[in-house]
Assembly symmetry: C2
Amino acid sequence: MDFKTVIRTIPDYPKKGIMFRDITTLLGNARAFRRAVDELVQPYAGVRIDRVAGIEARGFILGGAVAHQLSTGFVPVRKKGKLPHTVIGEDYDLEYGKDRVEIHADAVKPGDHVLVVDDLIATGGTCLAAIKLLERAGAKVIGCSFVIDLPEIGGADKIRALGKNVQTLVAFEGH
Amino acid sequence: MDFKTVIRTIPDYPKKGIMFRDITTLLGNARAFRRAVDELVQPYAGVRIDRVAGIEARGFILGGAVAHQLSTGFVPVRKKGKLPHTVIGEDYDLEYGKDRVEIHADAVKPGDHVLVVDDLIATGGTCLAAIKLLERAGAKVIGCSFVIDLPEIGGADKIRALGKNVQTLVAFEGH
């Protein structure tokens, strides 16, 4: 399936010069949503995955569906201050400033095999922070699955350089 | 399945006197997550559902899985200012002040049958706002499914009073 046909591009959002790739049109399309989930999990047929970690917020939608498809548990990787129990956190750099993701300290068990899911990979900053966090908690991140890749920014290559499998379904040029 | 055994209670969070019901322990448990999704969709076997609307943020995880299980599209009901295209919004009252939820104006088609999913129903304020929005956009909300009910607060009854089917999996006393 050509996912480009179901992803809406919004020029100059959130600021001038950015072509925003809006995945809500894909999610709202029953056939495209199911097909995307099937393709995101396709490399993991017969591979041990104990938990799927989804990155807030769009990664929750896809990650929830992927966890359901793989019959695993789901781990939310949340923005700072959103989780109610003891957390561990990891900072990452933004264009200007820093941000932070957190997981519950007991969200994974040592040795768990984890698949990370998000809608889009750009710089990879959030995903790399999520991998560090999950591995600090004792899990092994097996791979990362995204619907959209922006390959010119190079995030997917950074994750591959860690020896992780990276699955993406559609690539757009530019930032 | 007794979902109470897999939901963690955190006393005095986010403030003194509140018993916070932490669903992350249920989501992280593969068997409990799958069972919860099965029970959330159970009343809709053979019922026409075109889209599942999940309420940000925990409703995205469950709603993504429910949409996958029902083979429907997914509509995110988001907090104010998060959606990139033309939105419609609905305010609702909080204990102090107001909040607002939004959907894309084209997120549903007139006549769509929609199931709303969230993790917990308390006052029902967010869910009632989501129902109004979806119906303003021309959809028919068939029902609302939640894992946790706090029946003393009465939100589920308010939704039932609109003639909507409400499915909840576990009830906790108190607020």
